[in-house]
């Protein structure tokens, strides 16, 4: 069995990306992280199309870290798409964004995001947050993925 894919990180900003990866790595989260640089890539990856047409669709992430401001396909769109498809509907999505806009918050939760986190400017805090995220979603919380695998024919 291939290495389980843990996290799909959807982030367009390179600096943010580097910092996030740094935080994730430092906190010893399993190193199967796939990065998508925009919404389209994220969707292509999830639904095994386009660039990833020949990817096995059994490999779905246990967690999606989703930025909202993305080129091509917006973060909210990606979220909607994830929630719209039965295959991906149950994947936990954490919105990780700079915005603390109420609008985004509400829409995010309304569209089915599991968590909404504002990326703090303070890196220490960011690291702490990411660590908590990982611990929470990947360790403490039971993923739906296994049950999905079981129920799928």
């Amino acid at each position: 069995m291939p290495d389980p894919l843990e996290i799909l990180l959807v982030e367009d900003d390179p600096a943010d990306l580097e910092l996030t990866l740094h935080a994730l790595q430092n906190e010893n989260i399993a190193n199967r992280i796939h990065v998508a640089r925009d919404g389209e890539e994220a969707l292509d990856f999830l639904f095994c199309r386009g660039k990833y047409a020949d990817r096995s669709n059994e490999l779905l992430p246990s967690l999606v870290l989703l930025d909202l401001k993305l080129p091509k396909v917006d973060g909210m769109e990606v979220l909607r798409a994830i929630r719209a498809h039965s295959a991906t509907r149950m994947i936990p999505v954490v919105i990780l964004t700079s915005s603390r806009e109420e609008r985004d918050l509400i829409t995010g939760y309304a569209e089915g995001a599991n968590t909404f986190i504002q990326k703090p400017v303070d890196f220490d805090r960011f690291r702490q947050t990411v660590r908590q995220l990982g611990l929470y979603w990947l360790v403490a919380v039971l993923p739906p993925r296994q049950s999905l695998a079981e129920t799928q024919p």
Binding site: D16, L19, S98, R100, V121
Partner: protein
């Protein structure tokens, strides 16, 4: 018989009364004749009776004679027989008697010589017999009975007696015959008389009948004349009766009229008063009493000025004078009602002479109603608005003067045409509809506008209020000249439009701003994050290789980034407060304070802070925003009281005249009131960054939030003693800071 006819004709030609008179005369004549005849008849009857009596007398005498002679004979015989002198008692008497009787006979038959002769003869015989009788007597007396009897036997006496009786019989018979003859003669005469009598009687009857006829005719005439007279009388009587009835009727009418007049005076609604020469009230009517609110007893006899209003009393003598001079006065004055209120009255007084005395009679009319109506009328006329009455038929009926003043048309011009013709063509349809609706309903119209043409061709806007009166088919309406108002409105609309445009622009700007803010929150933070992040990584991973200075600078870099991050956050927050609509809910402020304290807890952990939270009111506010207020104020209080141990932070409520005031007090470092006005400015700080961190946006945020709730926030502080921040929620305090009923500004 022509004379008879002539006579009849003459008679017939006479006047009935004369005819009657003639007839009466005739009748009377006949009657007289009849009377005479009748008398004649009765006389002859008397005569007949007389003769009969005569005859009977004679016969009676004769018989008596006979009887006497018989007596004598009897007596003689008796004496002769008896010799009783008693028998001779009456002898002489009888003899005398016989003599007288004989004389009587002689007298009685004096008228008839034959009878007289016979009587004479008889008398001789009688005498002879008597002589015989005497002789007898004397014989008897002297010679006795035989002598006498002898003598008697001779029969001389008897023979004489028989001769006497025969003579008597003869006389009687002759007398009877005479009687018969006489009677016959009489009867014959009677017959004639009777015939005449009867014929006259017949004539009488006839003339009586004629008379009756004439009388009848006369009566008829009389009757007719009397009927005529009666008729005339009846007519006259009837006329008289009519006259009387008429007079009675007139009297009744007059009496009725008088009663009516009296009744009217009593029940009239106009006051009437009669004054004597000296001005005293002689009489007044109930309407007057009512007018002045007094009883009859109080009014009558009193001097008229007594009940005139005190104001007018001075004028009364003048009026009275004028009245007596001019004989009539008409003026307006006020009467005092008994209750004190004045009653406006029109006086119509007139002096008049009646039965030799002078009186003043007056009508007093209560014109309060009239005055009121005058008021209404004046109101209608002088009202500066357009007042009118229009008919359902589409024409003006009545207009006040404003129409002419403003539009220039005379009322006649306006009434001559349907009012629609004076309305701007564009408004005519709407006006027609509205007028139609008014005609059909009973509720009023308000704020309807249309344009009316003035005489000079201009149009003026009129704004109408109208109410229909269906029973009279009229509309009562008033309009204000809305031309200016309309102009103002249009200007206002224009202004509104430009305002709206401005608003739109503003909104557009706001949206732009929001979009900007939104992207700022992303875009500004990201680089800051990077700066901080990489600095930290640098610090972490290469700290061993970095000199002290480098680390210090890195810290500075990180500080800068963080500071800017905080600033960006605060600014974003601040801007959001202005844009977000208030979600007003009735909130217990205590709960918000507790929320804020919870939020602060990590920042103040480990510190000795004494929190005193008093009872706070329920207010209508946006809880989220109000929470921020407390967060900011409390975090400030905590921050600036960091040097204190323990820090004393108090939250409470004060009452003021204008409502509750919430305060947050600390015993921190405070600030100088010199810079109080800078307190709420953005980025304005009164402390150094290295002493107390902060963005300088916190209080500006608080102020923005409080202002949005319509409240006020202010502070009082003293350097090194602490600061108190006050705010109100809702209500407006103006620019004044209210005074408090309890507590001071700063402990």
């Amino acid at each position: 018989m022509s004379w008879f006819e002539g006579l009849c004709g003459t008679v017939a030609a006479q006047h009935p009364s004369r005819q009657l008179l003639l007839a009466a005369l005739l009748v009377s004549a006949i009657l007289l004749t009849l009377g005479a005849l009748g008398r004649g008849l009765s006389r002859s009857k008397l005569e007949a009776e007389r003769w009969v009596i005569h005859t009977f007398q004679i016969k009676d005498q004769l018989m008596d004679l006979d009887a006497r002679m018989g007596e004598i004979e009897g007596d003689t015989r008796g004496y002769v027989l008896t010799g009783d002198p008693a028998f001779l008692k009456t002898f002489d008497q009888v003899q005398v008697r016989i003599a007288s009787q004989t004389a009587a006979l002689q007298r009685l038959t004096a008228d008839n010589p034959r009878q007289s002769d016979r009587v004479d003869a008889l008398a001789q015989l009688l005498t002879h017999r008597i002589e015989i009788a005497r002789r007898n007597v004397s014989l008897r007396r002297e010679q006795g009975m035989e002598a006498a009897l002898e003598f008697i036997a001779t029969g001389e006496g008897r023979r004489t007696m028989e001769a006497i009786q025969a003579a008597i019989e003869e006389l009687a018979a002759a007398e009877d015959d005479l009687l018969q003859d006489r009677l016959k003669a009489l009867q014959a005469r009677n017959g004639q008389v009777a015939a005449a009598f009867w014929s006259l009687l017949v004539l009488l009857g006839a003339s009586f009948l004629a008379g009756l006829y004439l009388f009848q005719r006369y009566l008829n005439i009389q009757r007719s004349t009397s009927a005529l007279r009666e008729a005339a009388q009846a007519q006259a009587l009837a006329q008289l009766e009519r006259c009387v009835a008429d007079r009675t009727e007139k009297l009744k009418q007059a009496s009725d009229q008088l009663r009516l007049v009296d009744f009217s005076v009593r029940n009239a609604s106009t006051g009437m008063v009669w004054l004597a020469e000296d001005g005293c009230i002689l009489r007044a009517n109930p309407a007057y009493y009512e007018m002045v609110g007094l009883a009859e007893a109080q009014v009558v006899g009193s001097s008229f000025p007594f009940v005139i209003s005190r104001n007018a009393r001075a004028a009364w003598p003048g009026y009275w004078q004028q009245l007596r001079q001019r004989k009539a006065m008409h003026f307006e004055a006020a009467l005092d009602h008994a209750s004190g209120r004045p009653v406006p009255v029109v006086f119509d007084l007139k002096m008049m002479e009646f039965d030799g005395r002078e009186y003043a009679f007056g009508f007093l009319r209560d014109v309060s109603e009239q005055k009121r109506l005058e008021e209404y009328h004046r109101f209608f006329e002088i009202s500066p608005d357009f007042m009118c009455i229009a008919g359902f038929d589409g024409y003006f009926k009545k207009l006040n003067s404003t129409w002419e003043k403003i539009l220039g048309f005379t009322p006649e011009e306006l009434k001559a045409r349907p009012f629609l013709e004076f309305i701007h063509p564009d408004d005519q349809a709407a006006t027609r509809d509205v007028a139609g609706q008014l005609s059909a309903q009973t509720h009023s119209l308000r704020d309807f506008r249309n344009r009316y043409r003035a005489k000079n061709g201009d149009y003026r806007w009129l704004q109408w209020s109208a109410i229909p009166v269906p029973e009279h088919q009229l509309i009562y309406a008033v309009a204000v000249d809305a031309t200016e108002a309309r102009r103002a409105e249009e200007e206002k609309a224009q202004l509104n439009r430009s305002l709206q445009e401005r608003n739109e622009e503003l909104r557009a700007s706001m949206e732009e701003l929001e979009a900007f803010t939104y992207s700022v929150s992303h875009d500004l933070r990201a680089p800051l994050r990077h700066v901080d992040g990489f600095s930290r990584i640098l610090e972490d991973e290469l700290s061993s290789q970095l000199p002290e200075e480098a680390r210090h600078y890195l810290e500075r870099i990180r500080d800068g980034a963080r500071q800017m991050g905080a600033l960006v956050d605060d600014l974003l927050n601040l801007s959001r407060i202005g844009r977000k609509p208030l979600d007003l809910q009735l909130t217990r402020l205590d709960s918000l304070v507790n929320d804020a304290l919870r939020e602060l807890a990590p920042a103040v952990s480990g510190r000795a802070i004494e929190w005193r939270v008093g009872d706070l009111p329920f207010v209508e506010c946006d809880p989220a925003l109000m929470r921020q207020v407390f967060t900011n104020l409390l975090s400030n209080a905590a921050k600036y009281s960091r040097p204190r141990n323990p820090a004393l932070i108090e939250v409470g409520m004060l009452s003021s005249e204008s409502g509750p005031v919430v305060f947050v007090r600390d015993n921190g470092v405070g600030f100088s009131m010199k810079y109080a006005d800078k307190l709420f400015g953005i980025f304005q700080r009164l402390h150094r960054q290295e002493d107390f961190e902060g963005t300088g946006v916190g209080l500006a945020t608080v102020q923005r939030i409080i202002k949005r709730h319509g409240g006020r926030v202010w502070a009082q502080a003293e350097l090194d003693r602490g600061a108190t921040f006050f705010f109100t929620v809702g209500g407006s305090l103006g620019d004044e800071i209210p005074s408090f009923t309890a507590g001071g500004a700063h402990a």
